[in-house]
Amino acid sequence: MKKLNSIFWAFAVSSLFLISCSSDDNNVPDVPLGAYDNGLFVVNEGNSTVTTASITFISNSGQVEQDVFRTVNPTAIGTGTYLQSLFFDDTRAFIISGDANKITVVDRYTFKFIATIDTDFDSPRYGVVFNGKAYVTNAVDFTPGGNNNFVTVIDLSNYSTSKVALNRTAEKITAENGKIYISNGYYGVGTTVSVFNPVNNTIDKVIELGYVPDSFEEDNGVLYVLGSKIAKINLTTNEMIGAPVALPAVQNDAKNLNIEGGKMYYTVDTSVYAMSENATTAPTTALFSYVSNSDFGAMYGFAVNGDRIYIADGGDFSSDSKIFTYTLTGTLDKTFNVGVGPNGFYFND
């Protein structure tokens, strides 16, 4: 018995090795490409002063590093104030400052400063990369319904820029199926989504929604557009699929559409709602709510990624604030201290 036992153990142990060997062989180990691989960036919008604009990095293991841009690049010119958003290409991260009319380009894994792009911007908002070029929306003077908004096209090989007039509001932007989609709503005005053709920089089509879009996300060839309703747009035909699903009147101010695992998540004030992509009626009860003491920064940033929901609380915009992670069922997981006025999450995996 004893021998058998030891053989069993020998077998068991060796099989463990075997298993671990084979596992190593099959999966290329995720060697970090830099200090800031495998984690997420939180953009801290800040206020009018330079040091309040910052980027926080939170690694997948939960380690937090504040103000990574200044830490890595102490002598570089600052990113500008009022950080609006961030977007990636394969190797770079692009940080948009709305007030300084510029984009700071850094290595997305090391956060080393690469370049500043500061031509052809006027209150830049959001950006997306497609086929070696970046497309960035500009709100100009923020006039609701402003027909002077435009898109900045950046050649990412040399950072040269050009402007394309949009003749309507330009807010959120995404690249899907060879086209660039731009939401045209801002502050209660503008009820369309524009289909922008990156081949000739023209608008292929303007899709009328009948309500003001806040945010959109693509899943399986369909663009879901959230406002006071949720519309589905077929990305092959650029036609709406059926009538938009109306949200209950109390959810008129819905924001922050995120899709994860076939479910749509959105927020109303400090509450998070979830519904199936295929649902034809909207939920009337929230998945969960959180408590905010912020006068004007409740639910200032929101994201769903993997099995976690991320909420940024703007705080008082005059001191460091917090972000919270929740499970998909709405249980508080972790709280992290970040910078001033956190407004968005950008996952770097």
């Binding site: 002063t49 104030t81 300084a100 911007f121 209150s123 003077d141 502050y187 006068d295 005059s318 460091d320």
Partner: protein, 610 residues
């Protein structure tokens, strides 16, 4: 209702005293300035008077004059840019600027930008610390700044020209004409300031971009003696300015701001026995245009026309008792690109009482009630004592309730204006000790202010709207000291101020951002025959920029010095040529984060008086 009752009480008092007997009054002293309460009803508070010679020695902005000569702290967005005071730890809206007795804080923003007030048009500027809403109305919480034109009837004809030119193509010019005889007193002045304001930052490759400014003002003051008992006075001012707002990052959108202010005041002073009456009518206008992008003609604007009618009656009851009633009607009409076209009317009655009990003891008490349908106005009051305990020592005690009313923007901004607001209100008390020795005076004041219903804009749904929220308490101590010495033809004057300020949000229990614990100034002036030299020093303690008082982001303390020398080549007239170095030690400093102020810079000046 309250207003009507008060009015009746006032009238009754007046009728009663009308029967009292006559006493001698120094009419000319009363005629000299319009703001008589600054002299008569400020005895239990600290008043710092900056006379003509101090005004002349300083740069022409009110920011610069008060920054180097008073306890008031300034938050300046770069040289010549928006400048907000914090007096005794209060907000910019809680310091009132008073032009010849009229409160001129903006009806739109509630504050005065101290870089849009030139100093050279005035003969005297006084800093009255502490509460003053009974007399000066909204915003007199931290204190009041008094811009006065003094009119004298002594025979004179003088012309004064002051020209100053220096670094960054900065020009300041001022011409003043004064004519007076026993019947008429007249002053007129014109001032012009301009600068490219493109200074290099100290120890940096960057420079101040888009900071250029210019402003022009015309000022007249006139008094006419109709007969022994009647005087007619006119004051007027016109101020026009354009400022570009400087950038932090070169790629920011360039903006600029234009504002035009006009102020006119007509006054009839009548003396009859123990009564002195002043009937005043004032018309003020303010208008701004903000260009969000200088490359475009598009701008937003706001304007307010104000009419004020005032009846000010002083009764000298004898035995050291003075009773002063003031009835005031103010009408503001505002409109703008973001505010609705609105008119507001405010009536008020004030009763001020002062009693010189003995040569050593004096006390004063006052109250005021406003009536308006725009907001609920509290009863305001003030009470104070001034007691000379010894030849060299005087004690002052004052307590008051004051307010800051909602502005046109707070009430009528579209969208979001809230017509259901209360004024910010304060209870405050101070204790002052004045010491006077041969060549040396020292004043030590401690104060406490509790402010509630602070107005703050917060979002309501998708719109922002003002609400009454925080409570703030501020307390601290102030020291004013001066020393003068004359030895033969050598003359020495040393003035200093120091303020220690605690100003905390009662909810967060943290010091308010941009309020330094310590601020100090010193000025040394030396004269020998026709030569004079002056040294100015400013110390500003570190300030928090974060509401949680995270000291990592504090703005460092700074020490800045200016020095000037001049020589008067004239025999009977003044032909003075001078040279000045500002920021002598080339300190790298900022009062607002990333808004650096200039390093060492130079100017020459010429003063002619004939």
């Amino acid at each position: 209702m309250t207003f009507r009752k008060l009015y009746l009480v006032v009238i009754c008092l007046v009728c009663q005293f009308a029967l009292a007997q006559k006493d001698s009054v120094n009419y000319l002293d009363v005629v000299k300035i319009s703001d008589t309460q600054l002299k008569n009803f400020s005895n239990s508070q600290s008043v710092l008077k900056l006379n003509d010679s101090v005004i002349r020695k300083n740069q022409s902005s009110l920011t610069s004059l008060l920054n180097y000569n008073s306890v008031i702290y300034f938050k300046e967005n770069g040289l010549g840019m928006v400048s907000s005071p914090s007096f005794r730890g209060t907000t910019a809206q809680q310091t009132a600027v008073v032009w010849n007795g009229i409160n001129i804080n903006s009806q739109l923003t509630g504050q005065t930008d101290f870089n849009t007030v030139g100093t050279k048009d005035f003969n005297s500027i006084a800093v009255r610390a502490g509460g003053g809403s009974v007399i000066y109305g909204s915003g007199a919480i931290g204190g009041t700044i008094h811009l006065n034109n003094e009119l004298n009837f002594n025979q004179k004809l003088s012309n004064e020209i002051r020209v100053n030119y220096g670094s960054f193509n900065t020009f300041a010019g001022n011409y003043k004409l004064s004519v007076a005889n026993e019947k008429v007193s007249f002053q007129a002045s014109i001032s012009r300031n301009s600068s490219d304001n493109d200074y290099d930052y100290v120890d940096s490759k960057s420079k101040n971009l888009n900071g250029q400014y210019h402003n022009t003002s015309f000022n007249t003051a006139f008094a006419y003696k109709i007969d022994t008992n009647n005087y007619l006075k006119l004051y007027s001012q016109f101020f026009d300015s354009e400022r570009h707002f400087s950038l932090i990052f070169p790629s920011e959108t360039k903006t600029k701001y234009q504002d035009v202010n006009t102020r006119n005041l007509i006054e009839w002073d009548h003396f009859s026995g123990r009564f002195t009456s002043k009937v005043k009518a004032a018309a003020l206008s303010e208008k701004y245009k903000y260009f969000g992008d200088v490359s475009s003609d598009f701008y937003t604007y706001g304007e307010v026309q104000t009419f004020i009618g005032k009846y000010d009656l002083v009764y000298d009851a004898g035995n050291g008792i003075k009773i002063n009633t003031v009835l005031d009607y103010t009408q503001n009409k505002g409109n703008g690109s973001d505010i609705s076209n609105e008119k507001r009317q405010i009536g008020s009655g004030s009763l001020l009482f002062s009693h010189q009990v003995t040569s050593k003891l004096q006390y004063e008490a006052s109250l005021k009630q406003e009536a308006t349908n725009n907001y609920n106005s509290p009863l305001l009051y003030s009470i104070g004592v001034n007691y000379e305990i010894a030849d060299f020592y005087r004690l002052k005690l004052n307590g008051s309730k004051n307010f800051r009313v909602p502005t046109f923007n707070d009430l009528y901004w579209q969208p979001g204006g809230n017509q259901d607001l209360k004024p910010e209100s304060s209870y405050q008390a101070e204790l002052g000790n004045d010491f006077h020795f041969k060549d040396f005076t020292l004043s030590l004041t401690g104060y406490y202010i509790s402010i509630k219903d602070m107005l703050r804009w917060v979002p309501k749904g998708s719109e922002w709207s003002p609400v009454n929220t925080n409570k703030v308490r501020t307390y601290g101590g102030e020291v004013l000291a001066s020393y003068t010495k004359k030895l033969g033809q050598h003359q020495l004057a040393l003035n200093g101020t120091y303020a220690y300020t605690i100003s905390e949000d009662m909810e967060m229990k943290k010091q308010l951002i941009y309020v330094p614990y310590h601020k100090s100034t010193a000025a040394l002036a030396y004269n020998f025959k026709k030569f004079s030299a002056a040294y100015q020093f400013l110390f500003n303690g570190e300030v928090f920029t974060r509401s949680d008082n995270n000291s990592k982001y504090n703005i460092d303390s700074y020490m800045v010095s200016n020095v000037s020398v001049d020589y008067d080549f004239g025999k009977n007239n003044t032909y003075m040529l001078g040279f000045q170095v500002l920021n002598l030690w080339n300190e790298k400093y900022e009062s607002v984060e990333s808004r650096y102020l200039p390093g060492r810079n130079f100017n020459i000046y010429l003063n002619l008086k004939f």
